[in-house]
Symmetry: C3
Subunit: 334 residues, 3 copies
């Protein structure tokens, strides 16, 4: 690959959808995340790159883990974090979302982190407020930081994602994690496979540039990584969806099943796991295989990087060395 | 106006009631708030004037916006904020308020911010603890920081409040916002008018030094600003109070109604708005008229100023230039 | 007492049980706590000894006071505090505690503060994560920081604990506060007495190295301090347990009852008090007797000390001067 000499600045002031990113953006996030990942492992002191900034968390949907990850990422870099707990009354009335957004912007917040059950909510906040906004999950639509931390975990292990065979198992249809991962893995030229109950697979999955399998053993053939999605118990009550036990039998990951995968196939899960359902106990605890905690660790590092990049606070926020085709990708999008 | 040469230090270590303030105090708050307002607009770095101080929030009544405003104001200036979520069990027993207050004081907190449904609660905390205390709303009694941010918003627009005609519309009877605003606007020599359903106006309103109107169109005549109060839906269920629709018809603000007001009459609301009730959609979104978001912005600035002043942390916390009659006011109170 | 010349470093990276401590450890905690106690009283600026550290609060059981005390202690010394509010769904499933613990460790937290209704929960978190962990109460088992702040309060008043007669009154059986206090007071060679309803005393209390009394007046004879435990109303509904009024009559502390105690006998309570039950109004408000608020004040100081010591951040974290028998104690334990 030939390298060009000019520089590239991170061009976004929000992170709303994986679809907004080009490979160069991802590369910048990963490079900075790598710095944070290593610094944390070596207990290095953080530079307070976000000092003086106020980050407001708007978690209309509860998520202890994601919220803690964003809070730790921000505070370590010196930002003030305010957990704005949306009043229940206000949420129920659709029209007041706008007013909430504008109110927060008027308080001069520097970063919004938004989780909401409606697709497009984070984008709406970003548009209405003009404040840098991170989508921490919007309905069944997107969860871009989860996809980035997943891909970062793999890229750090492998050096790169391109050409790797990655299987996503479970309720693809309702999963924003799946949606964002498919989009990002495609962008990075992975070979993406989906598998799960027929009722929980999208009807037009073949148009997403992925291969669809109904048989898990077939799907696992030669895989370099498997991402198990979390079973959303609240959705698993209908007639068309399997019970926990059925799911475990038909799609649950075990050591035995993995024999058809690549020899050092990695097991991922966004957490928290339903042990014995998506992944059996023995495999979940097999630290040669599962990188679930490494995903959590990567989560803080990737979010740290994103917060710095969208606020223009990353040191040397530009890359001088790029591949030619990445630049072309960028031009196509621009 | 003649100016005297000696200095005046902010004489309060709490802010419990507008009634405690004299015009000089208000002037000091506004001057310092003006500094913070401008600094935030220009993204200037804050000086950490409250560094090392611990501010405890005691919101017995929930209020996401007010709490966030105080939290942002404090953190930006370097204070640590601890949200003390009062245990439900303790609240129900009246006698334990004292113990809660004393416990917090024993933890060596430097500032208490108290919201409670009982009139006098914040004053009680201040008295029992000896800790600088800000009243963030006590029952139907007072909400002094709201009144100060409202008046600051107008003073910043107009240069001063004196002689301006300001109408307050809605449920005056139960509103601490109204009560504090009337008190402050009177202090600043505004011409204050009240209007609303007869059942929601105080019986002795004429003794408050204001004019009372039952007809909104008459009340609006020549007004320089209108403050719409938030309809408290939970109180609007009785026989004597109007429905949303009735309220909108009889007292709701519209462009048409405003034709009788002064040409550049400003529209205020403490938020969150019930759109289509207190203010109609078109007017709420008319940024030439409404200063609702500017009120929010002013809120952080005014609270920053107050926190600095009650803790003695405002730089140059004294005014060398005062009007003679202001000094007399102070002597009367001392 | 002869002094030896070599140094002793605080040897624990967690505080899980009073049983893990030897007298030297306690001495180190008290010396450092004394520094913080005095610094707070004199409004001295804190050194940011915990700067750059992230402390995560895991309060599976709600406790506003203890949580606020730990939060204030940590923030004053510059740590970032993240209140991880455990999802209810996750708590109910025993097996996911492990996953929660590992997830937090993967986020690279530096200190965990854990309160949980299961005995051994904090120890479990410490073992699974390898992260310095403070037990903020685990079931009916231990509450070591409460015992340390209680003993510190007395030691600061008296100079030392050894030989003092201390009575603990109430529901000893279910109380982790009692359990930790008995253990610590024994370690410090106090003369410990227990008194309470027969159904709420442990059957084998004599094996705990304490004297057990059923009659409060007898128990109070010559006492230097009395620790009243909080009546847990939720446990006081059974047939075998007394009503509030019965409890007050039979075991409630009053000025009259205290006549049999030592002249300057101190009254303690972990708070919040049920006034008129464990302690009558007049005695609760008698500041010559009760040191309840001093306990709260000591709480922040002791927790500050512990946080510094378990993270190795206390300045000069070693003691050069020790008593010979303390060293022997340590050797026995090692």
């Amino acid at each position: 690959m030939e390298r060009t000499g000019f520089t590239y600045d991170f061009p976004r002031d929000s992170l709303l959808s994986v679809g907004d990113l080009n490979p160069l953006d991802v590369q910048m996030i990963f490079e900075r995340a790598r710095h944070h990942f290593d610094a944390a492992r070596h207990n290095e002191e953080n530079t307070r790159t976000l000092a003086g900034l106020t980050q407001i968390h708007l978690f209309f949907e509860n998520s202890t883990r994601t919220q803690a990850s964003f809070e730790i990422a921000a505070r370590r870099l010196g930002a003030d974090v305010v957990n704005f707990i949306p009043g229940n009354a206000s949420i129920s009335k659709g029209e007041s979302l706008n007013d909430t957004a504008l109110t927060l912007a008027a308080m001069r917040s520097d970063i919004l982190v938004v989780r909401h059950r409606a697709a497009g909510a984070a984008a709406h906040f970003a548009r209405v407020t003009g404040v840098p906004t991170i989508n921490a999950g919007d309905g069944a639509h997107e969860h871009p930081t989860q996809a980035l931390l997943d891909a970062f975990t793999l890229a750090r292990r492998w050096g790169g994602i391109g050409g790797k065979r990655i299987l996503i198992v479970g309720d693809i249809l309702h999963s924003r994690v799946a949606r964002s991962n498919i989009s990002l893995l495609n962008l990075l030229h992975a070979d993406v496979r989906l598998c799960g109950p027929a009722t929980l697979l999208p009807a037009d999955a073949d148009r997403w540039g992925v291969s669809v399998f109904h048989d898990i053993d077939e799907a696992l053939e030669g895989c370099d990584a498997v991402m198990a999605l979390r079973i959303q118990k609240e959705r698993m009550t209908g007639k068309l969806t399997p019970s926990d036990r059925e799911f475990a039998t038909l799609w649950g990951l075990t050591h035995q099943r993995l024999e058809r995968a690549a020899q050092d196939c990695l097991i991922m899960h966004p957490g928290p796991i339903n042990r014995g359902v998506e992944i059996d106990e023995a495999l979940a605890d097999d630290l040669d295989r599962t990188v679930i905690l490494e995903q959590v660790e990567s989560g803080v590092a990737v979010r740290s990087a994103i917060l710095e990049l969208v606020t223009g606070r990353a040191p040397n926020q530009s890359i001088a060395d790029m591949r030619t085709h990445d630049v072309d990708d960028r031009r196509d999008e621009a």
